[in-house]
Symmetry: C2
């Protein structure tokens, strides 16, 4: 190919480090790049108006011809969510298990601009090649079925990339994590372990998913009222357990909320969700059944304002009104930052007379991530030479690196990386290489990356104190104000009740403009800045607020 051959294996995380979400790691050897996962993250509070956040893939676009494919660990948004954006830039084959690719297909099937997408289903244990990389999936447990760890075979040995996982000895589908394969790999020798860090700060073990089913059965059996359960749509094992408990207690099941309806449909089609045909009812037929024969499975565990459960709580749902006695179960735990919204929904439900059960009150949720002792077990089995903690904020990565050290890896073989770092492995060992571009691309509507710091700063100013548009016409030959100043304000004060303030504002602007014109200052920049300065000072003095001020000067 005429390019220099480097004889280095490069590991380049492009997302998921020092953050929760937008997971993506590139593995590069000579002229070939393999990517694991391609997820999105959700905007933080200060990213006003932003819908989702994706990776900066400048480096991959520059090396487009090298990219051989993307390999997926599982079908959660933070691992597959940016696929539509990625494929628009670089169209490569996608490798994953059946459900993972099925969920990706839901995302891209309507997108005509993507062209044909090659999707290749692989089973755990089935070896395949992506470029020069040998690839193998190992079955793991997680809060979505069909999750896998990825093993890469490279010229410098094996890499084990756990993806999200937990160790569940009694999973719902009977498909337990393949600890034997981890052990085998460990015995043969593993060069590098990259393991997730989400729950590394929690002691002990995560409970088995099946413990939740027992709780559901007990609650359903004791209840004589309508039951509404909120859950993540993608947690199909959870949904299966709700369905099972419903069937055992002679209740019909109704799905509500767009993602719950979509995902359960895909999961049923692909055989991951088993439900008797006469159990499932349509939301429009709810009222045909007595309350004690219904379980409504819905979205909205995080108090999202537009989710089905939130709309029910606010009395804004088209088909479901919360009634005295309804039993609402949050089968979830709050994602940090959502506590307040969730509490609001719970209060609204209580006020409508519902009974509410959430994690603090009963065992209606377990995590999908490995706690400390589970992580130790994986370290003990895999016994890698090098270690990179992945999937977590800095505190998680730091704590995981300490755990790795306790498990016997020397500190110089542990790499706490940031997105855009490069770790180079050669025959001589591992060391940090040159950084590549990395960062957050903000998506607002159809725009990708066109909302930057200046736009966000303006949105922040606008959100706090609103704006004032000052319109004035001046005659530059006579140095006089012809009409105005007129003032339009939005998000500042309710104008009808603030006439005096508006009169004062006009007076101040008029004075400062007249002053300029009298002194023959009439270039636009000076006039605009006179308007801005005088008005800003006046408004801050009288209201202690600083709205955005937009002067519009017309020349006549």
């Amino acid at each position: 190919m005429g390019k220099k051959i480097s004889h280095k294996l490069k590991i380049i995380p492009l997302g998921g480090l020092n953050e929760i979400g937008k997971n993506m790691t590139a593995f590069e050897y000579n002229n070939e790049i393999l990517i694991i996962d391609c997820g999105l993250s959700f905007p933080s509070e200060e990213m006003l108006g932003i819908d989702v956040v994706i990776q900066d893939i400048t480096y991959l676009k520059k090396n487009e011809e090298k990219v051989k494919g993307i390999v997926f660990t599982h079908g959660h948004e933070d691992h597959i969510g940016s696929v539509p954006y990625f494929l628009k830039e670089i169209n490569v084959p996608l490798y994953g298990t059946k459900l993972t690719l099925g969920l990706i297909n839901v995302k891209i099937k309507d997108k005509k601009n993507l062209g044909k997408v090659e999707m290749i289903v692989k089973e755990p244990g089935q070896a395949f090649k992506v470029g020069c990389f040998g690839v193998e999936f190992i079955r793991v447990s997680h809060s979505i079925p069909d999750a896998v760890s990825v093993v890469l075979t490279t010229p410098f040995g094996k890499i084990v990339y756990t993806g999200d996982f937990k160790i569940d000895y009694t999973p719902i589908d009977g498909q337990a994590i393949d600890l034997g394969r981890f052990a085998e790999l460990g015995n043969e020798g593993v060069t590098l372990l990259m393991a997730e860090s989400t729950n590394v700060e929690r002691e002990g073990y995560t409970m088995s998913e099946s413990t939740v089913g027992i709780t559901f059965d007990n609650i359903f059996r004791a209840s004589t009222t309508r039951i509404i359960v909120a859950s993540f749509a993608s947690n199909i094992h959870r949904v299966q357990q709700i369905v099972n408990a419903a069937q055992m207690n002679d209740r019909k099941v109704c799905f509500s909320g767009r993602s719950m309806v979509n995902v359960s449909e895909v999961a049923k089609e692909l055989g991951y969700l088993k439900i008797n045909e006469d159990t499932l009812i349509d939301i429009k037929d709810l009222d045909r059944y007595p309350d004690n024969e219904i379980v409504l499975v819905t979205t909205g565990t995080q108090g999202e304002p537009m989710a089905a459960l939130s709309r029910m709580a606010k009395g804004e749902h088209r088909n479901v009104q919360i009634r005295e006695g309804d039993l609402v179960i949050f089968s979830s735990s709050p994602i940090p930052g959502n506590e307040k919204s969730i509490k609001n929904v719970i209060n609204l439900l209580y006020q409508k007379g519902a009974e509410v059960i959430y994690e603090a009150l009963a065992d209606v949720h377990v995590s999908g991530h490995a706690c400390k002792e589970e992580l130790k077990l994986i370290h003990a089995l895999v016994k890698p030479k090098y270690f990179i903690p992945i999937h977590g904020e800095y505190s998680h990565l730091k704590t995981h690196s300490e755990l790795a050290h306790q498990m016997g890896i020397p500190n110089e073989n542990i790499f706490v990386l940031s997105n855009g770092n490069t770790l180079e492995i050669t025959q001589n060992g591992a060391k940090m290489g040159k950084n590549v571009p990395s960062g957050k691309l903000l998506i607002d509507g159809l725009g990708i990356g066109d909302v930057g710091n200046i736009v966000l700063r303006d949105r922040k100013i606008l959100s706090e104190d609103g704006l004032m548009v000052v319109v004035v016409s001046v005659n530059k030959s006579t140095n006089t104000i012809v009409s105005g100043p007129d003032i339009i304000s939005r998000g500042f004060v309710y104008v009808r009740e603030s006439e005096e303030l508006m009169l004062g504002a006009k007076k101040v602007v008029k004075e400062s403009l007249t002053n300029c014109l009298d002194n023959n200052i009439k270039d636009w920049a000076s006039l605009k800045s006179a308007i801005r300065n005088s008005l800003r000072e006046f408004l801050y003095r009288t209201t202690k607020r600083s709205p955005m001020i937009l002067p519009v000067i017309m020349e006549v």
Copy 2:
């Protein structure tokens, strides 16, 4: 007074029900009103740009001549914070313990427009009168010294109003809650108990404040580095314990953050904080001492962006740079909604090489509120005829009413009220009366209540998609566009990179205006709505965003 005498005792909560904060309750008998507490609350997420929230006191203003005084339970913001706003409307005497009034004085001493404020210090156990009401304070424990419950003696018997409290048998200042007095009152007969509900959902007992001191001493003794402790400034017992641990381990103490400096100053002056003069050092002199001889006590437990600790974490603090090895202790627990900001600060501290200890890792915090078993004890001692749960969201009030019922109060004697409700007690019993105005007054800068729903809605639109101002001059006699359309956008897209979009927008506006003018449509409302509609449709189609559109049409 010529007014009808009602022979009713009215209890009118004006804040603190179905919410956390802005506590205030009015007690009215004939022509006299006594108020307990006068606090503020902090804005929720959707109240863009709002600083604080206070009560609607329309009812009290209408009955201004009846109001005889405000009695305070303790000096936290949610109990004293709206005093400056209240006094501007109604100037009445304030009754409280020494520290509570000292903290109120800090708030109002610079406010010249308030006139002279009468503040009367009362000790627990000392009986006094406010109008026709007999008043007595009972010492309780809380996360601020000098907290009390209030006992009102009325023609219909005694009312016990707990305020915020916990039961601490081993408080730092030796001033334990006066359980004996609660028992005595219970034995004599109490008509109504109003008890706080903050921790009613937590099982068991809150630990004693003194347990935290032991943890501090252990941590300080083991540390060889600089120690930084974040705490609420008003938690003077906590600050005292930090100071004690510092002195025992030969460390100097330095206060950082405006409220920490102010409150510790007042507390020292009034004798609530005891600290050796040579222990205290100024923040400017920090570098004169070795790291292992320093404890920095700072604000910022909730990750507030402008607080001292957050500025240190971001590297923006003038006097303190976080260094490798610094030990940072969060002596606090997250207030719901702040989890994410706190986590951000912790990550920044970790990244600067600090060690961080927070509640999950060690016993460096206890709550100031009574848990279930403590509340039961108060119910058991006071044995009231009627009960009103106060201070909490609906779920708290509901749970507390269930607890009261378990403790033997018949359901018909338990009143779960909302702000603005009136409970009337007469010789015949208690029943609901007419509602009075109540609600949230939003404070933005100097404006009180001038930001309403329309302004907030505009701020929300502006915060999500920004705005576009369209400026155009038309000649209405020739039906032509003279100049423009020009477009100014803010918070929408970064204009320099979106020239094509702006050209398209101008074209669309021009077409729709020309179309109107050609058809001799030239009233302003129609022209403006033509601009808005065509541009909105164009922008949504091309960007999936809906900025606010402000048309400015000039006639020439």
